[in-house]
């Protein structure tokens, strides 16, 4: 155990910091769930890629820097320290990217990763279907082989970013006679393919953060399949698995929220202290964000040392989603009557982002596997309880 950074790690942090301070947009971007904001964020992805910062863990030749996970955590800490923009391509860089790295052919990596790094391809994900929300094995959308193409028919839902994104990855039933998690294939396709209809779904905040996608004889070349035909389930499970979970929700993000919450509390201490639970919740926010960071560093260290991650990683999702919601609820309680104001309201001042963040946090216990499902998984796979 050695909890000091190496000189190399310190130098890396300094480099990240310097680049970000020089390049991070000074004016906040608009939400990437609007057409204009989406393109602003795409531009930021391109800017990041000019510094090879798109995904520092990727090899240099694919647009990264060959960093290890500790350096990635350092990058994230610096990224969130300056409150840099959210990553519009998170489905790509955090979910599909690592999956491509593990299951993609050399040609697929060359074809997809650099375009992902530059933001030329922004990715949406297509897991859920009507009737197959948390129960992903209930997927029915068919991809029927027809020569060197698949012909896709069916419907996906809750596809995040799909309203404005360029490409989609998802699971499709390539064996029409198969059941549950058998006979599924992992397929990548451009959202502009003929036969695709995207119906935006407005979120709580009114913005089209996800979409329903209808497939009507959509033809996709077989080379767009990732891994073997019928092996999609295992690949998807790995996509949803720990390392990506770690990438998707880096601790720095929550530490930034906790820090902002402490500042909010200190700025409103006179009123906030009349409710003693608020001070306690603020302390808890900091301690939990810290605990999450420590757990992540421990995991990253183990991975770096060659260990594999066990089923205990399934505790992450519950922990961060509850922490995130709790932090935002605390902020709204501190704000009192101001909490309900939309960010653009004239009297909202600079606190409107807490409402935005709160609304987003309410989804945390639902997406990426509802927390009830996560608890089942923890009980059955980590604790070995009977199904």
């Amino acid at each position: 155990m050695k909890l000091e950074y190496t000189d190399q790690q310190r130098a890396f942090r300094a480099e990240v910091r310097a680049w970000l301070e020089a390049n991070v947009p000074t004016k906040p971007l608009q939400s990437f769930d609007t057409a204009e904001g989406f393109e602003q964020h795409r531009a930021w992805e391109r800017t990041l890629s000019t510094g090879n910062w798109s995904m520092v863990t990727w090899p240099r030749q694919l647009g990264g820097r060959g960093c290890d996970l500790i350096e990635w955590l350092i990058f994230e800490e610096e990224y969130w320290r300056v409150r840099a923009p959210l990553r519009v391509n998170q489905n790509g860089i955090f979910l599909l990217g690592p999956t491509l790295m593990e299951y993609g052919s050399e040609a697929q990596k060359q074809r997809f990763l650099p375009c992902m790094a530059t933001g030329e391809h922004i990715w949406a994900q297509g897991w859920s279907e009507p009737g197959a929300g948390s129960d992903m094995a209930a997927i029915r959308t068919k991809a029927v082989r027809d020569g060197d193409h698949y012909v896709i028919n069916g419907q996906k839902i809750w596809a995040t970013r799909a309203v404005y994104a360029d490409w989609l990855f998802g699971l499709f039933r390539s064996d029409p006679d198969s059941q549950r998690h058998h006979g599924l294939s992992f397929i990548l396709l451009p959202l502009k393919t003929p036969g695709i209809t995207v119906r935006p779904i407005a979120q709580l905040n009114g913005q089209a953060g996800f979409a329903e996608i209808f497939f009507d004889d959509v033809r996709v070349p077989v080379e767009n399949r990732l891994g073997d035909e019928g092996a999609g389930w295992n690949i998807a499970m790995s996509t949803a698995g720990f390392e990506r979970g770690l990438l998707l929700r880096s601790p720095a993000r929550f530490q930034a929220t906790a820090e902002s919450l402490i500042k909010l509390y200190l700025a409103n201490r006179d009123s906030a202290d009349r409710d003693p639970a608020l001070r306690d919740a603020v302390m808890r926010a900091w301690m939990e964000a810290e605990a999450y960071a420590l757990a992540t560093y421990q995991t990253a260290s183990l991975l770096k040392a060659g260990s594999r991650i066990g089923p205990e990683s399934s505790t992450n999702k519950i922990f961060w989603s509850e922490m995130d919601r709790q932090m935002h609820e605390t902020a709204l309680a501190i704000l009192g009557a101001r909490a309900e104001l939309m960010p653009h309201a004239p009297d909202a001042g600079d606190v409107g982002q807490w409402l935005d963040g709160f609304l987003f946090s309410t989804a945390g216990s639902i997406y990426a596997g509802a927390n009830e499902i996560q608890r089942n998984i923890i009980a059955e796979r980590m604790l070995g309880m009977p199904r």
Partner: protein, 351 residues
């Protein structure tokens, strides 16, 4: 000792429930969001017909002459349907302020009559709320300034709209100038009125949050009875049942607190601790209802198209209205931690 509502009270409540089930159904409420002022005159006319606008207006001014215990039931129904603020603000809080004016005050009788007949809405601005709800449709503004009570013609003030997370809420910053001419009562005279207005406002939000919670629960029960996952209806999963059972428990024990607070207010007894208790309990119940009911809806619960959002957002918005958690906890703490406070067994109905 009788902690029940009368048959009359329940009959009136049931009638309002039936009325709102039709006239304030979600699709109509959504249409109202789209209109400029969000407050259709036709609906207000119907409220007047139903006797709601004159509920606590004295009979001699054309009302039903009822009081806070009646309102606490009505406000739960209004909450259940996420009806807009101008009803409770005009017809409960403002009416009580007007009733508190000296009998001979020239504004008293005419405005009470206008409220009862549905000709007028009144917006109420108290320091505890940085913004005034529904000021844009008010015919009179009752505003607080350094403790005094002022009455203003809406034409004489400047309104700045502020959007709430709840698209049905219409909130305004009111820029105005307090003058001797628009002052109805100076601070010492107005103090008990504003004190009661604040308590009434807090109780009104509490009661609405109880209704909102019940609505969210009902929506969640209905949704999980239909929707299937893993080959079973969602509502048959123990985890789903327990999430909703927890909401039911919170709600069952928040409701009597609001009723007790209404009684204290209605009888001019010390009400602050009961009102604050009611607001805190209702806020907690509605926050849990929003959280758990959204959770059992899955991703659907996060959408604009699901009606659940109307009730969740209102509940979130009302949490900070008429005193936030800090304000009400401080009032409870002041009352319960002061030396000699009656706290133990037997103290429930001693003031």
């Amino acid at each position: 000792m009788d902690f029940t509502f009368s048959d009359d009270q329940r009959t009136l409540r049931d009638a309002m429930r039936d009325f709102l089930a039709v006239e304030a159904r979600p699709e109509l409420q959504r249409q109202r969001w789209q209109t400029t002022d969000g407050r259709p005159a036709e609906l207000w006319r119907q409220f007047a017909e139903q006797g709601l606008t004159g509920l606590s207006v004295p009979e001699e001014a054309g009302g039903l002459g009822l009081g806070d215990t009646d309102w606490v039931l009505m406000a739960q129904e209004l909450g259940y349907c996420a009806v807009d603020d101008s009803v409770v603000d005009s017809c409960w809080i403002a009416v009580a302020l007007l009733r508190g004016l000296p009998q001979e005050h020239p504004l008293r009788q005419p405005w009470l009559e206008k409220i009862a007949t549905g000709q007028a809405r009144i917006a109420v601005g108290h320091r505890i709320n940085p913004l005034v709800a529904d000021a844009h449709v008010a015919h009179l503004l009752l505003l607080e300034h350094n403790g005094a009570l002022h009455a203003l013609d809406p034409q004489s003030v400047k309104l700045t709209a502020n959007d709430s997370v709840d698209p049905a809420r219409r909130l305004f910053r009111v820029d105005w100038t307090p003058t001797a001419a628009n002052c109805l009562l100076d601070a010492p005279a107005a103090a008990p009125l504003w004190q009661a207005a604040l308590d009434r406002g807090a109780l009104a939000t509490a009661a609405q949050m109880l209704g909102l919670s019940k609505r969210m629960l009902d929506l969640a029960i209905a949704y999980t009875a239909e929707r299937k996952q893993f080959g079973k209806v969602l509502g048959s999963f123990q985890a789903v049942k327990h999430l909703l059972a927890d909401v039911a428990v919170k709600l069952e024990f928040a409701r009597p607190v609001a009723h007790r607070a209404a009684y204290a207010l209605s009888n001019g007894r010390p009400a602050s601790i009961h009102v604050s208790h009611a607001k805190l309990a209702a806020t907690e119940a509605s926050a849990l209802a929003a959280k758990n009911c959204m959770q059992v809806h899955g991703a659907m619960g996060y959408t604009w198209e699901l009606d659940l959002q109307m009730y969740m957002k209102r509940a979130w918005a009302l949490a900070g209205a008429w005193g936030d958690r800090s304000f009400h906890k401080a009032r409870v703490a002041d009352a319960m931690l002061k030396p000699g406070a009656p706290l133990g067994p037997g103290s429930t109905f001693t003031d």
